[in-house]
Symmetry: C2
Subunit: 541 residues, 2 copies
């Protein structure tokens, strides 16, 4: 028989390694004159953005940066940061963005661990980098983004050689040939986890994953042509949820933002007719609680995706008044960002606003590029029943899952189990198949043999009108093993006593779940707005 | 150094072969109760569609169909045809759809060449298949779709064993485990070209290409969630432009249609609130020229993509009145369907309606899943200048390009050249980078050493108010080598003489391009509405 004829081989016309770099070339070819980036008074077109990226790539190449070298970027969401997402991979190098809020020791650790050859730094962050370099083993070349819009302008290096980013552009070669990956599995970027337990881990993405992340995001967020996207998500976080590449593919106009306040977010949305943005629920909370004089209500729909922690139903509910259509999504650094979404169902519209908010606050169902997500009993490895009650660990399979952790085979092996990436998040599945995170595996409180979800207790606390933010952790208890302890930040001008709050919780949930202790004060957060329970745990010791 | 750490290997959690089958599982998991298919009085949900596909797959498996076996389908756009696009690949087999308008000899040729193990046939087409089987070497198992809506119900086979399709469903196993491809390069479907020159060629698609085709179509057509799609494009043609899979990914509702008239198209769009459909320009022409009593004007936008031949500007223009937003696209069977689109630019809106229609009638720029398209001088192999004048052959590179032609290494080698798939279409590039097809390489008319595009002459003929359809071919001429000869079908009730039409052409284009001869009468067309110039050429001999 002739079955082998079906085995026609790949050639360079019918098999091209997937890479998000191709999006820039397509968009710049087709929409050269459309605005790519807006940043304060700066305007770039897609032709200019490609030109600048190509020049920066050529300058990196001229400085000896080659395939699989690491280039770190320690910067805010300015156009340069956006450009680095293309320019660095254009020479086959690996983009390593660093959280702008980490301390010098962590920066030093990352530079050495990532083996950075070059670090591109915003001038405002130079003092942190300078301190880091005193303890680094490696001494990467320094490139400084000197942003005229920066409010803080520390002294430039005097005794260390450096180049201004702008020189990479000006002296770059606009005819430089970018390097397409010859294998779509090639490493694209390296993102360090926040390291709430132990040292930060280096999560490696590949070109295939980033390409499919962009395609799947467009499909599952139903992106229109030419969205107008406000970049509130830090690009150092999962490469800004991959939206640098998604928005390029969609030939969007991206509004860059260095730092933001509720006032500036509302104003930019109005001024630039923003149609889409993403943020942590904490930002939505800020917007909802901003002074009325700073808030703007839009008579059009602004599409927002939010991730990081489950948005309290009350926050979701309050967003309607601004014209914000919120989609709650879920993901991890290890999955390139969002892989679940609370995709709305037709019949949700018949529910009360409160019920709709509850439905939307779940983590939901998989994005189109996500192959499979299951919730698995941590003991038996079996899928949990769809009963809203039985908890298990979220297990994920798909092409946007990381290659693994850099130089950490042990953690990599532990993360991958039985053909799944194990998320470390505990969840239930509702009868409609929607997944709801109940807690981090390590945050669950086991009290008298019963599981208490810290998130459930927090969501009750959020219902109290005086509570601005709440975090619940386990407190060791001789009688019960563990009991819930709440850390609460009150709204400005509001007061409530510890006993009143404990009473409120007891009235609104199973009594055994109510916190036994309440501590008032400001809550520690990561750069991405996540509450740092590890810091709180230390406070209880 | 530790660079090898970047070479983390693939595992089944972070590398899943791409396949359009995953779209069905995702959509059925998330939207089980949404309507998948509508066909006359039939309604299916996505849960039912998956259930039916799984049962059919299990029945095929029980009949001995395995990986890489070919299953042919000779049927109309009914739900069964849609289901075959999943059920057959679910057992790893190759779906071979056959054009419903081909004759028995061609069906026999395809069955033998494709080595079909099973043929699923609509009862109405049984007489053609029956005739084909008398000359076939192979005798595939027969499965009959007995559609109650069919108007023609020929006798069922009396002396040949067969099964009703419905039995595959009823006796199928809904717990059957579908086979995911272990390699995304695995063959998915086999589509025969119309064979305007020589024997039909078997074009093989792979799972990776079909997946990316769906993703790229959603991105570049900016599909909303849950489009309502009227399936006017025959699914036997490039698997209905891949929209079976695209619409499944988008969790659409698909309105199936067995045969259509302008009246039924308008009525179905109204009745089912259709938002999207695709068709050949000939169908748009039918709609534009239908009796006013059959036409319906919509006060909403219906998104239409049209491909097959460049739609005359006048047809594009007339579509506005119905609320149809037309996107002209271009592709070939070999590229899985559309790979170029006349993507609208912002500044087109400032142009006159006539000018806009001209701009939109070009083949355009690449879809997001298309990596590269160039127009190449057939002699030098160099890119042609973007001057609207210099012709070259369209060359294509991307993951939706076929694996090759089944059992035809010679044709496969010829189609792939220098890292390109060579389309056989002659085109120019406009200064804005938009590609415009001027002719098939084999349809160009060389008269006195000058190239005359048959399409250009046709577009002038279409401007004459009496002309319904026109086709221009080369006529051998002693003096000029070749001269244009026009075949024209007039609108009902209209009259015009040969001399008047030749005069009209001379007045509206360079005089040397005007046809020297005009033949009136009905024009022969392929099943997909393409004019069959090969048939006309025989008429001139």
């Amino acid at each position: 028989m002739t079955k082998k004829n079906h085995q026609l081989t790949r050639n360079s016309a019918n098999f091209v390694p997937l890479t998000p770099l191709s999006f820039l070339h397509r968009t710049a070819d087709i929409y050269p004159q459309r605005e790519s980036l807006i940043y304060n008074d700066l305007r770039y077109t897609w032709a200019q953005t490609r030109d600048r990226c190509t020049r920066v790539a050529s300058s990196l190449s001229a400085r000896g940066i080659n395939k699989n070298d690491t280039v770190s970027v320690f910067a805010f969401n300015t156009p340069e940061m956006f450009e680095c997402h293309f320019a660095i991979p254009m020479v086959g190098a690996i983009l390593n963005t660093i959280n702008t809020r980490v301390d010098a020791d962590t920066v030093a650790y990352i530079i050495d661990h990532a083996e950075s050859k070059v670090i591109i730094v915003d001038r405002q962050l130079w003092p942190v980098l300078k301190a880091a370099l005193t303890s680094c083993k490696l001494q990467p070349k320094i490139i400084i983004i000197d942003d005229p819009s920066a409010t803080e302008k520390p002294e430039l290096p005097s005794d260390i050689e450096f180049t201004f980013y702008q020189e990479l552009v000006v002296h770059g070669d606009d005819t430089f040939s970018w390097l397409a990956p010859d294998d779509e599995w090639q490493s694209l970027s390296l993102n360090y986890t926040s390291g709430t337990t132990g040292l930060p881990k280096g999560v490696i993405y590949h070109h295939r994953g980033a390409y499919l992340m962009a395609m799947g995001t467009a499909m599952s967020w139903a992106l229109p042509s030419h969205p107008r996207y406000l970049y509130t998500v830090p690009m150092f976080h999962c490469n800004g949820w991959g939206h640098v590449w998604t928005m390029t593919a969609a030939a969007a106009t991206v509004i860059c933002i260095r730092a933001f306040t509720p006032r500036s977010v509302f104003k930019l949305i109005e001024q630039h007719e923003v149609t889409h943005f993403g943020c942590a629920p904490i930002v939505l909370n800020m917007l909802a609680n901003a002074p009325v004089s700073e808030q703007i209500k839009f008579d059009r729909t602004v599409h927002v995706i939010t991730a990081g922690s489950p948005p309290p139903a009350i926050v979701l509910e309050s967003m309607n008044q601004f014209g914000f259509e919120i989609m709650h999504v879920y993901g991890l650094t290890e999955t390139s960002g969002h892989i679940l979404q609370a995709a709305p169902q037709e019949d949700w519209q018949e529910q009360s606003i409160q019920k709709q908010a509850e439905l939307k606050s779940r983590q939901g169902v998989r994005f189109s590029m996500t192959e499979k997500v299951d919730v698995i009993d941590t003991q038996s490895g079996e899928s949990v029943p769809w009963d809203s009650t039985t908890m298990g660990e979220i297990a994920i399979r798909g092409n946007t899952v990381m290659k693994g952790y850099l130089k950490d085979p042990e953690a990599t092996d532990k993360a991958f189990h039985n053909g799944w990436f194990m998320s470390g998040d505990l969840a239930v599945v509702h009868p409609d198949g929607y997944i709801q995170v109940k807690d981090r595996l390590k945050d669950i409180i086991i009290s008298g043999g019963e599981n208490i979800s810290s998130i459930e207790v927090e969501s009750v606390l959020y219902k109290h009108p005086a509570v601005n933010e709440a975090a619940v952790i386990a407190l060791a208890d001789e009688e019960w093993g563990e009991v819930p302890c709440a850390f609460v930040e009150l709204k400005v001008g509001q007061e409530v006593s510890e006993n009143e709050l404990i009473q409120f919780c007891g009235d609104n949930m199973a009594r055994f779940k109510r916190p036994k202790k309440v501590v008032f004060g400001e809550l520690p957060k990561t750069a991405t707005g996540k509450l740092q329970k590890n810091v709180l745990r230390k406070r209880t010791i």
